[in-house]
Symmetry: D2
Subunit: 333 residues, 4 copies
């Protein structure tokens, strides 16, 4: 039984708390949050205790911590938790600053504790099936990857301002998906972006619509499309052209009902947003973490993966400003 401390009690922490409680091999022991009332409420709901973060990290009876606090605390908490001997699952991104993330990676590299970054989409059954088919050789050698990732509606501009920008906040999931499916980091990153959905997002220095192209050492190519607004719901698709075929992961729909009338043939919309779409992925992610920690085996997503995606976000941010492609290796220092 893996005993777990949860750092953070916000919305996504609640999702993780349910995954921890529902898993037969893990038990939620304690929850901390800067909002003590939120921690108390979430802890009570799961039969756990509200504690301070310090108390959780100091408790030798806690095997692992799940970090679901605000992004600016991730690097510090990863360093402190691993130093305290905990296994760590940390929400993405590692940090908004690539330099800080690289320093974090260096800091924890010696202590040997497992650190997994919460790129939950790798555990989505559809994307996982694409990966499995690819590994199984079902489309031969991959050549051209396309990722479509649209949110249903933009967040408030106040959030945009502290988010690190679309490439770090939103597309980072897609950078990791590219790394997951391609099994390698790209050589170059080229980006274009604009604030066509909401000019206020542009005024805040960010883009809301973007296209990034990636090139790989062996000639493969990838393209990622992001928009902060798809009014029909959360649009999360992947397609991968290979030498012997094409793999596509299509959207999950709210239901399978189709209505044919004089107006056309109408089906349900995609599931609305990430909680609806990725709830099974969060459970599978947690199960994979528990399984790897218990077995002492390799984690399915590592701190290196978190750093790699962040470097791509930083490269894309730079490319969108200059109009030139950016060499990724140069970003890593």
């Amino acid at each position: 039984m893996l005993t777990v401390g949860l750092l953070g009690a916000g919305r996504i922490a609640g999702v993780h708390a349910t995954a921890i409680s529902s898993h037969p091999g893990s038990r939620l022991v304690a929850v901390s949050d800067i909002n003590a009332a939120a921690a108390a409420k979430l802890a009570a709901h799961h039969g756990a205790e509200a504690r301070t973060t310090d108390a959780i990290l100091a408790d030798p009876g806690i095997d692992a911590v799940l970090i679901a606090t605000s992004t600016d605390t991730h690097s510090d908490l990863i360093e402190r938790a691993t130093a305290a001997g905990k296994a760590v699952l940390c929400e993405k991104p590692v940090d908004l600053s690539l330099a800080r993330a690289l320093a974090c990676r260096k800091a924890v590299s010696g202590n040997g504790r497992p650190v997994m970054i919460g790129f939950n989409r790798r555990f989505d059954p559809n994307f996982a099936a694409v990966k499995a088919a690819l590994v199984n050789g079902e489309i031969g050698k991959p050549e051209l990857l396309s990722i479509t990732s649209f949110d249903p509606a933009p967040p408030p501009v106040a959030y945009i301002k502290v988010s690190g920008g679309l490439f770090r906040d939103m597309m980072i999931h897609d950078f990791d998906m590219a790394n997951f499916l391609m099994g390698a980091a790209p050589i170059t990153v080229s980006a274009v972006g604009s604030s066509i959905v909401d000019p206020a997002i542009g005024a805040a220095g960010d883009v809301d619509t973007a296209v990034v192209t990636l090139t790989y050492a062996d000639g493969r190519l990838a393209v990622i499309k992001n928009s902060r607004r798809a009014v029909y719901g959360y649009d999360q698709r992947v397609e991968l052209l290979g030498s012997e075929g094409l793999l596509q992961a299509q959207n999950m729909l709210e239901n399978t009902v189709v209505k044919s009338t004089t107006a056309g043939v109408t089906g349900a919309k995609p599931t609305y947003f990430f909680l609806e779409r990725y709830m099974p992925a969060y459970a599978a992610e947690w199960a994979a973490f528990v399984s790897a920690v218990n077995a002492g085996s390799a984690l399915p997503v590592t701190l290196d993966d978190g750093v790699a995606a962040l470097a791509m976000a930083e490269a894309a941010t730079q490319s969108a400003k200059t109009g030139s492609s950016v060499n990724l290796a140069a970003m890593m220092g």
Copy 2:
């Protein structure tokens, strides 16, 4: 908090136990089974006690019982449980004998306790969406209903022999679906059937493939197709033609991945069988029961619904033998 005793500890009882435990408004108190070890195991898994059925029914601290025992015990247990003041959710069918089911209905008619029959498919989000669209007038007046219901593989012949036959054991779900969607009982029932999947099923006196047509007082028609074998998985579809359009509930698929190769464009198979397909429906069914019992409001599926479906099964069994349509009202005595 609704306190619940579970009668039965087999596979489907396990599904219900999870639904009861997971629901925030209900608590599983006790489990009984003729196999005491099975009851003990299931009870322990959910923090409940293993007891005798008598003890469960006699416990004034138990509000409701869920009957998931073998079909031949359903009528007796419904009568005993309601007499003991319990609210009842009983698995389908009410009985293999229409006469016994009618007697049960008569026996419990006076005691005022709520009895719901477990036609779980009404709670499937896809079929529920068809019903909602219909009620919402989205295809005008319904005219022609088609239900396709194929199991992935036939059960053992030993099961067939005690099952009551395809019409009572398998198509009874579809009879209830017809009643649910059409909102009325049919006037006539006509059936054809054969044992083309497995001659041993025919030798046991049953059919494995059947088509039933229903006619309604207002001229509407319905057709139900059953097969005990669809090698590609559990095929559960409904379509309803109305004066202003068509509604179709299509299969749920294992994932959304599509592969295009020289061999064609291939997607995932339907979810394999009823546990995969209808797990969310079992939870929704239980939630509807809890809600109605707590509110003292009308149950979404009643004992009358269970009797009606059974009468249709009996009519179909008779029609398949004679080649003539059977008037349903005549079946009800």
Copy 3:
């Protein structure tokens, strides 16, 4: 070069005239019609002559005639044309009277001239692909066939009155499709029908919505659904369950465009009616006729096929009245 006389100059004759003219191996020589102006116009459009039927049949320079006149003239014209040595392609149905069709078959049985009945749907590329996959063993042994065939809108009641009724006029196509796909005639025919689309159709003694079930000697089953009204367009689908899988021919759509909005995900409607859907089938039907006549090989659809479908229509008409299944062999005298 097959020289052709076309009997009839109505709408469907026009479709055939185009097929004849466009085929590199056939030439339209003459057109006849009781409406001389219509014959003249159609003939002129295709560089042919308007003549009387007598003149066409008497012309030794004409190899084949295509009969696209009113149904009540089909049997006579088949007899006269074959007696005159012509190869014949005759529109369905052979006749409204099974007795007359049987007599026609007897009359022409000795003269050795090829007579093909125009069941164009056998040449639809989608249904032909189902047949090919079936013959190729791709779903193992067929067990349960379903045919859905809905017209977009009912014809005028004046037409209904002379049509011979839904089973002879509309479902006869589906009877032939069943014969085509199952490769055998059924043993029994059971029908239910009602006039729920338009009471005036009922007042005229016909039904507008019907379901027919067929049983076969080897235990196979089939079901055919017809409606005179599907407001979303011409709904023409087939599905066939076999021991190793399911084959479905779905509707052809007006285009492949899909629109996702807050209202759902909407695609195009099915092609509107038989001219849109089956235009390629008419050309393929004609090509098959030319090819068989030139080669002296077996026709893909025969007068026997026409008689068989008509017998099923007569059986269904009778069954819908009595509520009992009808033995098809008994219909054939």
Copy 4:
């Protein structure tokens, strides 16, 4: 009746000859080709004469010429034909050299004769339906366009060497599609490409897989993906995200048959290549040309459109080499 001279007698000229002959308002009078035998054969098939190009251009009885010769002759023939007073429909591209195309445009700008460039895909019913829905405001304001355009198999390297490269030879169709759907030329063009399908293509100085991103003055973005090889067939899709929804034109399939087996649910492949997919588009293109010439109205695709697409191809070729985006206006001199 528009009288037409056809310059060229190759495969695509044959497609056009059929379109000209089948159209009720046009007549093919003469065909020329450097291969006199080919011209004679094609002319004979359509009841036309084989002539020299000079003779065709000098014939005052010929209203229009369709130029389907090799690309390096297009500009000269456009200039000569318009000078001779002919209306012109010229196959794409205008030229491999943007400078030559610009000179051609200048040369013909004064003579007032209509010149249409054969971007046939604008006339594909699916893409045309996307445009119509867009114009109709069905997805609000367009924001992000994606074009997927994969050929089934790469051409011989000998062809690659004289083709002008993927951007001028293949993606030029997609550049025009972008211009068609976006209704404006982009500001910048950025390209990445590689020769991962066949290294011999790289050795010949070309790419076989490429991604191009376009930015527009008002903040809209577009991305085009090309591959010379999709083993499952011709993959021709478009999707356009707007402020109120998404429009997608999906592939046309060989048939609508779906097979469900233990291996999954398999449908037909896309129609194989451009002749299968775009045959209706060629006929519609010709009809639009005839209609505009007869009416003296604006052509649906102009020489300007041909020049604009060529400029984008030249910009993409340059960007793929430098890794920097190219300002399109600068290309136009």
